[in-house]
């Protein structure tokens, strides 16, 4: 009962934040809307027992990424309003038509066929007490997926080096 209530509230908050991101004219409001969505999604993670991922979501996304976004917004200025005039003649209508068609087909499939969102649960149930803990995630992360984990370390190094290289360019280079 409590779970349903929290789910409905957080779903509304997440969608409202997402709409704010798209419709806000000022990029700062977009960033704040994204912050709301990230928090709401983190609560939805907690509802599904993904406690560690929820904590990482708050620390990495809401903490680091959003701060970086706001920093860049402040750096390059927020006073320039983007033009809303359309210079593509018919694409917007085509997108609206195609998007509505996709939504209608998906809703029809979900409502009127016996559509299964996920296959049935596997036999090896994870006990509720250990699901989503650091130990539960670390075990496959450092055994099955250890090569991918090393690759992400390499990726982060490359990203940091690339960002530094981009920040150190001279004006004639680009």
């Amino acid at each position: 009962m409590v779970e349903s209530l929290v789910f409905v509230l957080m779903a509304i908050a997440a969608v409202a934040g997402a709409v704010t991101v798209v419709v806000a004219r000022n990029p700062v409001y977009s960033a704040i809307g994204l912050l709301g969505t990230l928090f709401a999604v983190a609560v939805l993670y907690v509802l599904q027992l993904a406690h560690f991922v929820a904590a990482v979501q708050i620390i990495v996304y809401a903490g680091a990424v959003l701060t970086l976004f706001l920093f860049v917004i402040m750096l390059i200025g927020v006073d320039k309003d983007e033009t809303r005039e359309e210079n593509l003649p018919y694409q917007r209508k085509a997108v609206i038509a195609l998007g509505s068609a996709i939504i209608l087909v998906a809703a029809g499939l979900a409502l009127f066929t016996d559509f299964q969102w996920v296959p049935a649960a596997s036999e090896a149930l994870i006990p509720e007490s250990t699901n989503g803990t650091i130990e539960a995630i670390a075990e496959p992360l450092f055994t099955t997926w250890v090569v991918a984990f090393q690759a992400t370390a390499l990726l982060l190094t490359i990203a940091a080096a690339g960002a530094i290289a981009l920040a150190h360019y001279r004006k004639r280079d680009i």
């Binding site: 996304y61 990424v65 690339g162 960002a163 004006k171």
Partner: protein
């Protein structure tokens, strides 16, 4: 327990809003935020699928996506700042030198 399909419906709505924003906005920063929105929607889908199927690997996949998203934001924002220092604009409509 809330049906996992409901979580996935929320995720689908978030993804759709993100894709829509990607298509209609011209500010490169807002387009980046829309990408983050779509990544979050996918993460939510993975978490609910992992919960419904009792598989911890869903959460491991989300962990990797978080790392890739962080790396992407670092490089992308550096590119946006570099373009802004050169061109004094963050609008993708004005970056059309490579138009054929």
């Amino acid at each position: 327990m809330v049906d996992p399909g409901l979580y996935m419906t929320v995720a689908a709505v978030l993804f759709f809003i993100g894709a829509l924003g990607m298509l209609v906005r011209r500010n490169a920063l807002v387009m980046f935020m829309c990408i983050e929105l779509m990544l979050n929607a996918v993460n939510l889908t993975l978490i609910s699928a992992g919960r419904a199927m009792n598989d911890i690997n869903g959460q491991v996949a989300v962990f990797f996506i978080l790392v890739v998203a962080a790396a992407e934001v670092v490089v992308g924002l550096a590119i946006i700042v570099a373009i802004f220092r050169r061109r004094s604009t963050a609008s993708v409509d004005e970056l059309n030198e490579m138009r054929g």
